[in-house]
């Protein structure tokens, strides 16, 4: 299969690849971000965005604008694009595209379950869910009392069902359990996605395995850092790491025993690709780690566009747009709360 995509890829995937590359050309550039960072009010942001691809989505918003509206409309654009692509896609691209949304689905499930645990209104929670991760009976999640019920009632109908089989316990849901559930689900999801991409073979497998390995490694580091100082045992921690990626298996063993951030750093610096990320940080600091990881991810995602005839571009595009929406949210928040000095803290330039 490998090397022959050029002959057959365009039969089914050519149109959509062209579409997604066209969408990519609409991503905001560094010049755009520079202009956006200079905005004084949200209306300025709207004015600037109206000259970009977001224009049609924002132009009919009445003037006192809120950050949530901006983010909502930008997300709506992404969702519209995604839906259009999904409509046009054939197998196996459609499955691939669906895989991209499972991550959001997991987040939504966790969001609703946590929300009901703290007795929040379901409608309010639903509004907070990412529209890409919606499924029919998502609101029913609020009925469930423990994981077994959760699975049996709702999730058995969703694509997440197979991932859930690993974490069914009869324990009542609490914050810790939910977090473990999220990570177990994510682990299963990433492994499944990875396997699926390997099955596709060719350039898709090559590029996606790189991107997913990065994702898995990043999650491993985050799990480690977040679980330092909690009652999570080493073995349990070890179980949450995905069984692939650059860190697998030796890096995981080291991460599993880490007790503070500097040990994590020590473990990670043995891997050349992650050296550069950690070399930017001073010792004992973990605040900027997220941004450093995001920057690295964006760099890798952009590289996916350098090669043709593979599905990685769809994944990369969706991720880049999400990053862009995160950037816009940060900028809008900074502008709205008059914190312009912090505008550059969290913005990751894409180009």
């Amino acid at each position: 299969m490998y090397g022959f995509e050029a002959m057959t890829f365009n039969i089914h995937g050519g149109y959509l690849e062209a579409i997604v590359r066209g969408h990519r050309a609409g991503l905001l550039t560094a010049a755009d971000y520079n202009n956006l960072c200079q905005c004084e009010t949200l209306d300025d942001i709207k004015m600037h965005l109206s000259a970009t691809d977001y224009g049609p989505y924002l132009q009919n918003e009445p003037s006192p604008l809120h950050t949530t509206t901006v983010v909502e409309k930008c997300t709506l654009k992404l969702v519209d694009e995604y839906k259009h692509m999904l409509c046009q896609a054939t197998e196996p691209l459609s499955t691939f595209l669906e895989y991209i949304t499972y991550g959001h689905m997991i987040d939504n499930v966790v969001l609703i379950v946590t929300g009901t645990l703290h007795e929040r209104d379901v409608q309010e929670l639903l509004e907070k869910c990412h529209p890409l991760g919606m499924f029919d009976s998502i609101a029913t999640l609020a009925v469930a009392q423990n994981m077994r019920e959760l699975y049996r009632l709702v999730l058995v109908d969703t694509p997440l069902a197979p991932y859930f089989s690993e974490c069914i316990t009869s324990e009542d849901l609490d914050d810790m359990n939910i977090e473990i559930m999220r990570n177990t689900l994510y682990k299963a999801y990433l492994e499944d996605f990875y396997k699926f991409c390997q099955k596709l073979g060719g350039a898709t497998a090559e590029i996606m395995s790189d991107l997913l390995a990065f994702e898995a490694d990043r999650r491993a580091v985050n799990i480690t850092i977040n679980s330092i100082g909690t009652e999570l045992t080493r073995d349990d921690r070890r179980k949450l790491y995905s069984n692939f990626g650059l860190l697998y298996p030796y890096g995981h063993e080291e991460l599993a025993v880490c007790e503070d951030i500097d040990q994590v750093r020590g473990a990670m610096e043995k891997y050349p690709p992650y050296q550069s990320i950690f070399s930017k940080l001073s010792y004992g600091e973990s605040q900027m780690l997220d941004k450093a990881f995001y920057e690295e991810e964006v760099k890798r995602l952009c590289l996916a566009f350098e090669q043709q005839f593979h599905y990685g571009v769809f994944f990369a595009y969706m991720r880049l747009r999400e990053q862009e929406i995160r950037n816009l949210m940060w900028i809008s928040e900074c502008v709205a709360q008059n914190q312009k000095s912090r505008v550059h803290d969290s913005v990751v330039f894409i180009f």
Binding site: M47, Q59, T140, V143, L153, V154
Partner: protein, 818 residues
């Protein structure tokens, strides 16, 4: 100069002389000045703030306000669309609306409309809810009724059975059961409601799972689609009743109902209550209906008044936006007292612009007038041709290739005649020409009507080129008469044929039997040629030669235009080392061929021109023999060949060397200057670089460029001449196709002497003529004519590296962003 307000007489050959002008406008009259200039439409503003982002500019807030108004207008338009109203075109032009007043008014209207919509929505919501309620009560009532009936029947049966078996069983136990039963039944509650049909299956499944099957769900289909109160959209729905036992299950069911968007409605088991509810609901429904209708009437009245003014308002807002965008391009003086504008305008418009600015100053009661100041610049001005509705389409053809450099000779002038003519050479049939003329005159006659309305893509294109098509059809009537073809049938329009039979028995399929009996047919091709065996050789030879003559003439015109360009820009080098050798090269080969053709036509000689041309190169000194057309031909040929050979290196070498020399001289002069006053050498070099005339002279680059140019011309002379043979080829194809349709369809059908076959034949003939000959052939001949103009003609002289004059004007506002 034309009459008073008219522009000066049209000079299409060269762009209107342009000037860079600086306007210093006092801040108080700036808005009005720009507005008046927009009405005039002869001034192109330069963006003096290009480094500033849109929201950093001075008038960003005003633009935002206008954008807000435009949004409100869009909202009105949407509302009008929903209500099925269209903005009236004949909107009353009432007193001038001030922007501020308009903003207030739009705000009020929007608020009113939004409130109305909200009220309407609320009413509609409760209306829809009541309808759903009614449905639930009816359906559930039916269900309960039938259930009661069957339950009663069952009970009767049971009782009958019990009566039969009662004696055998222990009566105590039975009594106990009878006692406990009612208390159990009391606990059995139910929830009734309505749910979208596509969700009902999942709903049932989830209910079953959530309660471990301890519910009983009864659904019944609502036939007509129901409007959902929340979304306001029509949807297919089911009425359901869920029976359950226990409070916990009830909570679960309620939650699930919420999750599925199922609307729950209370339901009374009591029949009397049911009737009461239904009658109550019906009463309220009628009330609501009248309220809603009244609201709708009120709303549509409001919308109608909006529609009345809509066009005017939206035009005003668009105008304001464009004015503020233009104002943003001006740079503001530090004192904020005046604005400085820079831009291009045609020289002839100087007075008009000054008048307009004067008027603006007076109208806005400004103390100081606007200063009009012509700047000297080295920047290349935009190109502006003053076209009218006839010439603009032809100019478009040229502009599609490239906008002329400022004051470069404009091929558009010649295109007006040569383009339709070359088209017609390929499309020579006066029958088809008349069809085309009729079609295009429809567009021309209804011009006023068409230009005011919006047309489809293709219609728009045809309408835009209506005058081009008219010229093309006129010329094809002319060439059709020359070719003597009317739907491929010849007519003896200009007197009888020159040829006649020698004797009555001569066959009509051969010219051999014909002799010339009269003077030559006075205009075009003799009709006798048609259908003879030698028709094709005769016509081919004629059209081929004609193509070459036309081609050589047009290419010469192109080269001559390059002379005019060089002369206009004072470029002696190009005249001597480009124009002259090119002229000599082309004419010594193909000019000579044209001469031979003309001589052959005039003398009626039998000489073989291919042979002459080929042996002119292969063995120029050989005797021409029977191919000799005139005395001294051999000598002339050798001379021409030598001239052509000389002109090739002439084209190639001198120009780059001379350019290098010129550059060196200039450079030397500069270095002397540097030696003399070394103090301000930095200024000097900066100045020199600033002018940007000849930064770096790369000899190799210039030489390679010239080499390419020479090769292109030498090879092009041959290939371009050959390219003109397409005139012959397409003309041949056209006449052959039309004769095939005529002979094989129309005449064949005619031959059957059957009216039905004739009608079918006629229909096929008309379809083929319109589809293939009138549409496809027109398109192909058009494209070939286009190519001949762009490549063969304009390639000889036209650089097309200018940019178009785009004045700030309000006339283009309405057409854009539709």
């Amino acid at each position: 100069m034309g009459g008073g307000t008219q522009c000066p007489t049209m000079d299409l050959l060269r762009s209107e002389p342009m000037q860079l002008v600086q306007l210093i406008i006092p801040a108080e009259s700036a808005h009005r000045s720009i507005s008046y200039l927009g009405d005039l439409g002869l001034f192109q503003f330069k963006d003096l703030n290009s480094e500033k982002s849109p929201f950093q500019r001075t008038y960003a807030t005003q633009i935002k306000r206008c954008g807000e108004m435009a949004r409100k207008l869009r909202f009105f338009k949407e509302q009008m669309m929903k209500a099925g109203l269209s903005p009236s075109a004949r909107s009353v032009i009432s007193d001038d609306f001030d922007l501020d007043n308009l903003e207030v008014k739009l705000g009020e209207l929007e608020a009113e409309l939004i409130e109305m919509n909200a009220n309407h929505e609320k009413l509609q919501h409760s209306y829809n809810e009541l309808i759903e309620y009614k449905l639930v009560v009816q359906k559930a009532g039916e269900f309960f009724h039938s259930a009661q009936n069957s339950a009663a029947a069952k009970q009767r049966e049971d009782e009958a059975q019990q009566r039969g078996e009662g004696s055998i069983d222990s009566p105590l136990l039975l009594e106990q059961e009878m006692v406990t039963d009612p208390s159990k039944q009391v606990k059995l509650g139910f929830v009734s409601g309505i749910i979208p049909r596509e969700k009902s299956l999942a709903f049932e499944r989830i209910l079953f799972r959530a309660t471990r099957g301890n519910v009983f769900l009864k659904q019944s289909v609502v036939e007509d689609p129901v409007t959902d109160p929340a979304s306001g959209e029509k949807a297919e729905k089911n009425v359901f009743v869920v029976f359950y036992s226990g409070e916990r299950v009830r909570n679960k069911i309620v939650k699930i109902c919420e999750a599925f968007g199922a609307n729950r409605y209370p339901f009374a088991e009591d029949l009397g209550k049911q009737f009461q509810i239904i009658s109550e609901v019906s009463g309220r429904l009628e009330e609501l209906k009248t309220t809603i209708d009244f609201g709708l009437v009120h709303q549509s009245n409001l919308l109608r008044t909006i529609a009345h003014h809509f066009e005017q308002w939206s035009h005003l807002v668009k105008k304001e936006i464009s004015i503020y965008h233009t104002l943003n391009m001006l740079s503001i003086d530090v004192t904020r007292k005046c604005l400085v504008a820079e831009g291009w305008c045609p020289v002839f418009a100087t007075n008009k612009i000054q008048n307009v600015l004067q008027r603006a100053t007076v109208d806005s009661n400004s103390q100081i007038g606007t200063i009009f100041h012509v700047l000297q610049t080295k920047e290349s001005p935009p190109t502006y041709f003053h076209t009218n509705k006839f010439t603009s389409a032809f100019q478009e053809i040229v502009d599609a290739y490239g906008i002329a450099k400022y004051q470069e000779a404009n091929p558009g002038v010649f295109t007006i005649i040569t383009f339709p003519f070359l088209f017609a050479v390929m499309f020579g049939d006066w029958g088809h020409g008349i069809c085309l003329l009729l079609a295009t005159s429809y567009f021309i006659i209804r011009e006023k009507k068409f230009s005011s309305q919006k047309l489809g893509d293709i219609t728009e294109m045809i309408f835009g080129g209506r005058y081009v098509i008219m010229m093309m059809s006129l010329f094809s009537i002319y060439t059709g008469l020359l070719y003597n073809e009317f739907f491929s049938v010849p007519f003896e329009l200009f007197g009888p044929s020159a040829y006649g039979c020698r004797d009555p028995s001569c066959g009509d399929a051969s010219t051999a039997g014909l002799v010339k009996v009269r003077a030559t047919y006075p205009f075009g091709v003799d009709p006798t040629w048609h259908g003879t065996r030698s028709e094709l050789p005769f016509l081919n030879s004629m059209k081929m030669k004609m193509s070459i003559l036309i081609g050589v003439a047009q290419m010469n015109l192109g080269i001559i235009l390059s002379y005019f360009n060089a002369k206009f820009y004072g470029n002696e080098l190009n005249i001597r080392h480009q124009f002259l050798p090119q002229m000599i090269f082309l004419n010594s080969l193909f000019g000579y061929l044209s001469l031979l053709i003309v001589v052959k036509w005039c003398t009626g000689s039998q000489a073989d021109l291919y042979h002459v041309m080929i042996y002119m190169f292969l063995s120029p000194t050989d005797d021409l023999g029977e191919n000799q057309l005139f005395f001294g031909q051999k000598f002339l040929q050798i001379l021409l060949l030598l001239a052509a050979l000389v002109s090739v290196p002439w084209m190639l070498f001198p120009k780059p060397f001379l350019l290098k020399k010129q550059h060196d001289e200039r450079h030397r002069g500069q270095s002397y200057a540097l030696l003399e006053n070394s103090l301000d050498d930095s200024d000097e070099t900066e100045l020199h670089h600033g002018s940007g005339s000849h930064e770096e002279f790369q000899f190799s680059e210039v030489f390679v460029h010239q080499l390419i140019h020479t090769i292109e011309f030498v090879l092009g002379a041959v290939s371009n001449t050959a390219s003109y043979l397409r005139l012959w080829a397409l003309s041949l194809a056209h006449s052959e196709l039309s004769s095939v349709f005529y002979d094989k369809v129309l005449l064949l059908a005619w031959g059957f002497n059957n009216i039905i076959i004739l009608i079918i034949g006629l229909i096929v003939f008309i379809c083929a003529t319109v589809g293939v000959l009138l549409v496809m052939e027109t398109l192909s001949a058009f494209l070939h004519a286009l190519r001949l103009h762009w490549v063969e003609f304009q390639g000889k002289f036209y650089e097309g590296e200018g940019y178009k004059f785009q004045p700030f004007s309000f006339t283009s506002l309405d057409t854009e962003d539709e």
